[in-house]
């Protein structure tokens, strides 16, 4: 029985820490301070440690949980995302008058859900995990009750989410209707059996699942919720969902489509290629015209989803590894960027209009520099991690002769540079300075940003270990 428990230990720790946070909050009397954030950090640290200690163990349990290296990679990544988010939130969350206890608790719960998505081999559990994650994030989006935009964002995100999860569920149902199971392995066997003339129901199931995932990773045309949700949510929640949800969704996406539905690659590849192309184009093109930085980053995240899809389409071991690496790179960079935004936001203004950045360099050179680095990394300039990630993706694409997608990808990334640099122009080159005072930056949050900075450069210059780790972890799943 115990060895049944082992594989779920990491996620269990996180979930328990979430409960701990809730309790702490519950017993907190009005006004006095409680280190809820630190509890979360401890839990996540535990998650990371246990995950690493389980490396190469390939533990399985309950018949649905498999903690192969792939899952572990995502566990660590997701826990890291969570930890970074908590670091960055400390101070800013209070400043925005968010109910910190619930804030951290929900974040931890949805982290647990994310971890599950990566580490299960059962569609049903994936669905449940997806719901855990999503519900948590819906609430987080609207957690700032004073903000109408927050509520609106939450509602839009929720409606679309429920809508899409219905489709996802329908996909599961159809798969079940064909195969009589929800276990990925058995489905895979059936699919492999019927590969030369796939049952139309199977195709439909695949399509529905694809739609569900595409929605979560915000691929065109299922992306519409993204800009609104990103803009309306509290800044750090935006950062959290843009990185965590993408990572988790891709974890499941890759697992489902490259293990069970791998045999149908010939069927889903063209469709996915089209989606990827549209996603890259629309994300970059529409991003150009945005004036709200958060919204702009939302479109950029759409574009990045496109690049990730290219990696998924490449589907070689390099392709899978590139997705993993890219997710890490994107996560750390994006979180850093949102961290800076959050540090600048005041309770009354989210400080996300591009004009708010005018002359930032003169008043807050440090923050300006940080943001610059993160933007450069998003734009894919060496020697930041963003460059290595992009290179790795296109590496995979070229290996698979996806020249067209690769070309599209690099060209769109050039265009995307344009809107990233609009912010830089504001910060460094505009003559006037934005009105309104700049709040002081909480020390812990600053530490978080510095960590992100270091990682961005470290992984940009010596990405070796992470690349090999990614390669190893994908090696375990197929």
């Amino acid at each position: 029985m115990l060895n049944q428990i082992i594989p779920i230990v990491p996620v269990l720790i996180v979930a328990l820490s979430a409960c701990a946070v809730l309790l702490a909050e519950a017993f907190r009397r009005q006004g006095d301070w409680m280190p809820v954030g630190w509890l979360g950090l401890i839990g996540l640290a535990g998650g990371i440690v246990t995950s690493i200690s389980l490396w190469d163990r390939n533990a399985t349990g309950f018949g649905v949980i498999t903690l192969d290296n792939y899952a572990l990679f995502f566990n660590v990544t997701i826990c890291a995302i969570g930890a970074l988010t908590i670091l960055l939130s400390s101070g800013t969350a209070e400043r925005d008058q968010l109910p910190t206890g619930e804030y951290y608790a929900l974040m931890l719960f949805s982290l647990a859900g994310m971890m599950l998505m990566g580490s299960t081999r059962d569609l049903l559990v994936i669905f449940v995990a997806l719901e855990i994650m999503s519900l948590g994030v819906y609430v987080l989006t609207g957690i700032k009750r004073t903000s109408e935009q927050g509520a609106e964002a939450a509602f839009k995100y929720f409606v679309m989410g429920a809508f899409s999860s219905a489709f996802f569920l329908y996909g599961i149902a159809l798969a079940y209707a064909v195969t009589g199971t929800t276990k990925l392995d058995e489905i895979g066997l059936r699919v492999a059996g019927a590969v030369n003339d796939p049952n139309i129901l199977l195709i439909l199931a695949m399509v529905m699942l694809l739609v569900g995932f595409a929605f979560k990773v915000s691929a065109v045309p299922f992306h519409m919720w993204t800009p609104d949700a990103y803009q309306g949510a509290p800044t750090l929640v935006t950062g959290f969902m843009s990185t965590g949800i993408k990572a988790a969704a891709f974890a499941a996406f890759v697992r489902v489509f490259l293990s069970s539905f791998e045999p149908l690659r010939g069927d889903w590849m063209p469709m996915l290629s089209a989606i990827a192309g549209l996603t890259m184009i629309l994300g970059t093109v529409v991003g150009v015209a945005q004036s709200s930085v958060k919204r702009m980053l939302a479109y950029s995240s759409i574009a990045h989803a496109g690049y990730l899809l290219v990696g998924l389409i490449a589907a070689s071991s390099a392709g899978k590894a590139s997705i993993l690496f890219y997710l890490v790179a994107y996560a750390v960079t994006n979180l850093g960027a949102f961290g800076v935004l959050a540090a600048l936001s005041t309770p009354d203004r989210p400080h996300d209009d591009i004009r708010d950045f005018a002359g930032l360099w003169r008043e807050r050179p440090g923050l300006a520099g940080l943001l610059t680095v993160f933007l450069l990394s998003l734009g894919g300039f060496p020697p930041t991690v963003g460059f290595v990630a992009k290179w790795y993706i296109f590496n995979a694409a070229i290996q698979e002769n996806l020249i067209g997608l690769a070309v599209l990808g690099v060209l769109t990334s050039v265009v995307s540079v344009f809107f990233y640099f609009r912010i830089i122009v504001q910060m460094y080159m505009s003559d006037e300075t934005a009105p309104g005072h700049r709040p002081r930056v909480p020390a812990v949050a600053l530490a978080g940003m510095l960590i992100a900075l270091v990682v961005v450069f470290y992984l940009g210059i010596v990405p070796g270990q992470l690349l090999t780790a990614a390669a190893d972890s994908v090696a375990t799943i197929f």
Partner: protein, 674 residues
């Protein structure tokens, strides 16, 4: 040792540039002049050595390789200097006359401030240095260094009074027109290297003479024509002569040294240097001859009516250069060089003389405001007279022998028409030169009407005391200038006697014999028609030869005297006859006054169109419009689409659901219908 010759003036240049602000006139002028003098001395010794050296393949030459200049792949160009008879003559002329002109300048430029004075002499030295490199260079690239260097110096010296726009313009014009020539020269070099794999004059000559006469004639023709284009630029021939008259904006000694005696003859020298090459390209020679003759005639006609004393001399220079090219064209290389050599003397003399006049008249250059200077400026007058006689081709003066040599050879090589042109030009020469003489030195002083100061090229703009000196007693040339004038005058008389016509004094044409080896390829078998060696003929027909030659001499003598007579009649005997004629042939007169409107034609046909195309079509049209339009267009398109597509994000959740659903339906449809 040879390197010293150009190096000495170059050092002078360096010193004068470095310390131009700290040295007095005496020192800077002294340094420069001494440097030239020393160079002359070294040159003499070098020539002496050369004469003493043992002939290789019939040619005496000494050579110095300084160091390897450019070496790349097959190309290997040492910085080598060589003295053979031809270059020997040239360095003597350059250093000798150069020294005199330096000397002259020390006095002439005294009005300048110290630093300007030093600047002037530094330029002058620099010029001498480059000119010597040009004539000493043993290969095309080395010559080209001098070739462009002298161009630069002429640019600097013409524009010496840079605050005066016309001067600056003239300098620019000179440089650019020369560049057009250099373009040809470079291409010539390239194709020579492509043909012969070397750029050394001797080697080239050798390989050429190895070729059969017809072999690759076409290529040779083109090559030589390209080189000749270079020559026309440097030596002010049609079509590139236009810069020389304007070049008179420079100080007069500069005109004497650069634009009369030395630089402008570089083209002639270059052809002489490549005599073998050119004589393998008969067509080119034809072209050279014709161009030369036409230039001579045209310049002569223009010279008839010009009123600026220096411009008259300038056109006469162009015309005389035409003579030289005529000689080269008909294969009389020696004759051409001979005329170059005599011309150096008397033309330098004439320019310096005119300089003396201008100096005396405080910058007055307009003949119409001169007259009656004979008594006031005796030295100037007499020396000037000698020069005029020499250029007019009056017997027993240097000009007579050289010009006669050319005409004679032209006739003998059967270019009758060219010969006629030559004769006519000789007539014109005599006429306009004596017109100049009469207008300047005879008759009454014609004070300048106030209006005269107005237009640009009549007065120097170098802070001169103005024209206060009219009427009052004028100062004749100060010693430094006088010496130069006298020496040159003597030269103008005697220089010709190295080349007495063989008809009169058998074997008297020593210079031809002296130069002849330079026109042969060393060690090459003597070609049947060794250019320049026509005189070496059997005594049998020599008698008849001599008779024709004597006849020709007679003709040219008569022509010269006639020209002088005409000038005398018009400008001395019958006052106002000139104006009468001018009025009578008004159109022609205006045409000549405006130099056939060539400048205007060039401007309208070449300069303006290029400018207009560049600015409107290329810059505004292609660059800003087409290319940049495309580039920015891409950006605009992206922005446009961005503005359109973002509108799809209406904010209505139901629209979002719609798009989601559209996606689903489309995808499912795709899988059903595929």
């Amino acid at each position: 040792m040879l390197i010293l010759i150009p190096l000495l003036p170059f050092l002078g240049f360096l010193v004068n540039t470095a310390f131009r602000r700290h040295v007095s006139k005496a020192i800077s002028g002294g340094i420069a002049t001494v440097a030239m003098g020393l160079a002359f001395g070294v040159a003499l010794t070098a020539v002496w050595q050369m004469l003493g050296s043992t002939p290789v393949g019939g040619v005496r030459a000494i050579e110095q390789q300084v160091f390897t200049w450019i070496a790349s792949g097959p190309l290997d160009v040492p910085l080598a200097l060589r003295v053979d008879p031809l270059s020997a003559l040239m360095i003597l002329v350059v250093t000798g006359i150069g020294t005199l002109i330096h000397l002259y300048s020390t006095a002439y430029m005294l009005d300048e401030s110290d630093s300007e004075y030093a600047r002037y002499f530094s330029y002058l030295n620099l010029f001498a240095a480059f000119m010597l490199v040009l004539v000493l260079g043993a290969s095309f690239p080395v010559m080209f260094v001098g070739w462009e260097g002298v161009g630069l110096c002429s640019y600097l010296l013409i524009g010496f009074w840079f605050t005066k726009k016309t001067a600056a313009d003239a300098g620019k014009k000179a440089f650019i027109v020369n560049r057009i020539g250099d373009f040809g020269f470079i291409l010539g070099m390239l194709s020579i290297f492509a043909l012969f794999g070397t750029l050394d004059f001797q080697a080239v000559a050798l390989r050429v003479s190895a070729l059969p006469a017809e072999a690759s004639a076409g290529v040779l023709t083109i090559t030589t024509l390209l080189l000749f284009l270079g020559a026309t630029g440097k030596s002010a021939q049609i079509p590139l002569y236009v810069w020389l008259p304007d070049a008179m904006e420079g100080p007069t000694p500069v005109s004497a040294l650069i634009h009369a005696a030395t630089m402008v003859t570089a083209g002639v020298y270059m052809i002489g240097r490549n005599a073998v090459l050119f004589s393998h390209a008969p067509i080119t020679l034809e072209v050279v001859a014709v161009i030369g003759a036409l230039t001579a005639l045209m310049a002569g006609t223009i010279g008839l009516v010009q009123n600026d004393i220096k411009r008259v001399l300038a056109y006469s220079t162009v015309s005389q250069l035409g003579y030289m090219f005529l000689a080269m064209g008909v294969g009389a290389f020696a004759g051409g060089i001979f005329h170059l050599y005599t011309h150096a003397f008397f033309k330098a003399l004439l320019f310096l003389g005119s300089g003396a006049v201008i100096h005396a008249l405080h910058g007055e250059q307009d003949l119409r405001h001169m007259g009656g200077l004979k008594s006031e400026l005796p030295i100037t007058y007499w020396t000037f007279l000698v020069g005029t006689l020499a250029i007019a081709g009056v017997p027993l003066l240097s000009g007579f022998f050289s010009k006669d040599e050319i005409l004679g050879q032209t006739f003998e090589h059967g270019h009758t028409i060219l010969w006629v042109i030559g004769i006519v030009t000789a007539f014109l020469t005599a006429t306009y030169m004596f017109r100049l003489l009469f207008l300047a030195f005879f008759g009454e002083r014609r004070a300048a009407p106030a209006a005269a100061h107005g237009h640009g090229d009549d007065d120097h703009a170098h802070g001169h005391a103005g024209h206060g000196g009219h009427g009052g007693h004028l100062h004749d040339a100060p010693p430094a200038m006088a010496i130069a004038l006298v020496v040159l005058a003597i030269g103008s008389v005697l220089a010709g006697y190295v080349g007495l016509p063989n008809a009169v004094v058998p074997g008297g044409n020593r210079i031809e014999a002296f130069l002849e080896p330079s026109f042969r390829a060393i060690g090459a078998p003597e070609p049947a028609t060794a250019p320049g060696s026509i005189e070496v003929a059997e005594p049998a027909e020599s008698a008849q030869e001599h008779s024709t030659e004597l006849a020709l001499m007679g003709v040219s003598t008569v022509v010269a005297l006639a020209g002088i007579g005409l000038a005398f009649v018009i400008y001395r005997r019958r006052e106002g006859m000139a104006d009468a004629i001018a009025a009578r042939f008004g159109g022609l007169h205006r045409l000549l006054m405006n130099k056939y409107y060539v400048d205007e034609a060039y401007d309208a046909a070449v300069v303006q169109p290029i400018k207009r195309t560049s600015s409107t079509l290329l810059w505004r049209g292609v660059d800003a419009g087409l290319i940049d339009g495309t580039v920015n267009g891409v950006g605009l398109v992206v922005r446009g689409w961005s503005a359109v597509l973002r509108r799809l994000q209406t904010g209505s959740v139901r629209a979002y659901a719609m798009s989601f659903f559209v996606g689903v339906v489309a995808i499912v449809g795709y899988y059903l219908w595929r």
